[in-house]
Amino acid sequence: MLSFSAFSPGSHASLDLMGAFLTRGRMPETLDIQKVISTSTSNVSLDDLTKKGFKQVKVLNQAIITRLISEAVDRVLFERSKEIGKEEREKVIKEAQGQFETLAKKRLEKERTRIDELEHVNQLLTTELESLKRRLSHAAESEGELSRNAAEANSLRERLLESEKRMAQLEGQLAAKNEEIQRVAAQAGGGDLATEKILAAINDRLQKVTQPAEVSQIMLSLDGLSRRLSNLSSLSGTSSLAESESMKDFSIESLFAKDSGEAIESNVSKVKVKQAKAGDVKGALAKLKKMQKGGEDGE
């Protein structure tokens, strides 16, 4: 069956559509004429039209409909623009500007508040970071000190044990030598003056061999080590004079032993050392000498 889509420009649907364009104040980006025609028309068969007495119908193509709509819209817009006066336009512009400024202000305030909050959080985090860095550094330092102390304590304990072993050996040797002396003395009968002198000399030599060079040094060293160990355990932090003296003896020897053993080549004496003139010390010297003599200032 052949049917027509009837469209009348003044129909209800087409007016609604145009009204919608005008109310919104702008044309939609694309106008689907096909769809508009389809939704705004109804299908009527030729028979029905004949029955209704229509013998002739006007036929409009899509291009004409589109042109008509466009012309109608342009006409309406043109008429409307005439109605809006200069004052009204300025009023609308002013209101629009006011509205825009209010919105912008609100938005700006909101952003500022947000920035303040972020800065505050940032500051807190920076402070916390600094504090953590400091704590980390202190912790690392303490840990280092503890491990150094522990290592030193272990080393000293080992040395102490070695020294004790060595001392026990030397004491054994000393006891054996003493026994030998006594045995020789007993064999000699103990009455002869010359024998006594010989024995005294042997004894003296034995003492020289064992005592100062080995036993006494080890004894001193053990004393020193014991003190250092006790110092470390109690964390008293100071060292005793005797301990230091005992260690000094060994180290000074080792220091100057290098003078003879090692060949040192140097240009130190050929190179100029930094030299400066400092403020004089005459006043301080005079005052100190006066005080030493028990003058007014020293009394």
């Binding site: 550094s137 932090g237 260690m247 220091l255 190179v271 010390v281 020293g298």
Partner: protein, 355 residues
């Protein structure tokens, strides 16, 4: 000692410009002062006109690979080297500069104020440096007062051993060695106006040495094992750099009151901590010790040493001082007249006054 100002008596006689003194043939007074510092060695001597001459040498070295050409160049460039057991070491300030260029650490004969236990092989070098600084004695058995640290309150090491080693070296060079506490030397150099009454603090590289003195007599003396090196180490740790680099940043001219970047801020933080730590230590020791003098008048605190030379040091010190309840009335806190030479000058005063 061709370049030595004090030199030997022979040198003094040879030099035509020097005024030959009738006694002993020297233009210098009898008596030397020697600051044995972790960072620097400094000697002091007084000529007959009363001028004090200081010679200073950075107490550091670095080993390098070197051939014959390098050796010659080092001498031409005025760089001191020592070749020992086949190893070539550059000593003094150039060692420090080389360490920064090569991104390495300098080796230090001393650590924490005393001879470093891990650098025993440095002792012959140390002896050469001392010889170069002091020269030969101008008089037989000329007295040389040398600085020693006081017993530390926060470390376990051997001050007497250190004292013995340096005494031995000086004796070997022909001097009559006499030890003096570092803080006490500061009192001798800086507090004459106050009858040598007050607190002298030597802020050194290895430690801070404190001496509370009354009429030139030390009433309390101790040291803390924290100094400029402690700051450098910590700054280096937090910034992930070498300690030598941290020293270079510190010495290029930082002001603690206005740090300009992250490095300077780190330096400021550790300086402040170190000063606060030292003040607390003085307070605790003073309150805990018996027989402390009661000072009738407010006293002066004077800070010396290379670590006190940084900009804003005294202001930060005063700031930290305000925040603790110090047990002694203090009228003034100030930096020494010659911070870097103060200890050497104090040793010299002790030496010249020892009759």
């Amino acid at each position: 000692m061709g370049n030595s100002a004090e030199g030997s008596s022979t040198q003094a006689e040879k030099a035509p410009s020097t005024k030959a003194a009738p006694q002993g043939g020297s233009r210098f007074e009898a008596g030397r002062g020697l600051d044995v510092g972790t960072a620097n060695l400094a000697s002091a001597i007084q000529d007959k006109d009363g001028n004090v001459i200081i010679k200073i040498q950075r107490n550091a070295f670095i080993d390098i690979d070197a051939d014959y050409y390098t050796r010659n160049m080092l001498t031409k460039l005025n760089v001191q080297y020592v070749s020992i057991n086949g190893k070539m070491v550059v000593v003094g300030d150039p060692a420090f500069e080389l360490a920064n260029i090569l991104n390495r650490e300098t080796r230090r004969p001393m650590k924490g104020g005393v001879i470093s236990p891990s650098e025993q092989e440095a002792m012959p070098i140390e002896k050469l440096l001392l010889e170069n600084l002091l020269g030969a004695p101008n008089y037989p058995d000329e007295r040389c007062y040398f600085s020693v640290p006081a017993d530390p309150i926060d470390a376990d090491f051997n001050v007497v051993y250190h004292k013995g080693i340096f005494g031995g070296m000086l004796k070997k060079l022909g001097f009559e060695p006499k030890p003096i506490l570092e803080g006490h030397a500061v009192v001798f150099a800086e507090l004459a106006e106050d009858d040598f009454t007050g607190i002298g603090i030597s802020c050194g590289g290895g430690m801070f040495n404190v001496c509370v003195s009354y009429k030139s007599i030390p009433a309390l003396a101790f040291s803390t094992a924290r100094g400029g090196d402690w700051i450098d180490r910590n700054v280096a740790t937090v910034l992930g750099i070498k300690a030598s680099r941290a020293t270079a940043i510190k010495e290029k001219g930082v002001n603690l009151l206005s740090p300009n970047n992250r490095e300077e801020e780190a330096i400021e933080i550790y300086y402040r901590n170190l000063i606060s730590y030292t003040l607390e230590a003085i307070k605790t020791r003073f309150e805990g010790s018996t027989g402390m003098p009661s000072f009738p008048e407010p006293i002066e605190i004077v800070c010396a040493g290379g670590t006190s030379m940084i900009g804003g040091f005294i202001e930060v010190f005063q700031d930290e001082f305000q925040s603790i309840k110090f047990p002694i009335q203090v009228k003034n806190i100030r930096r020494a007249e010659d911070p870097l030479f103060s200890v050497a000058k104090g040793c010299l005063v002790a030496s010249l006054s020892d009759v």
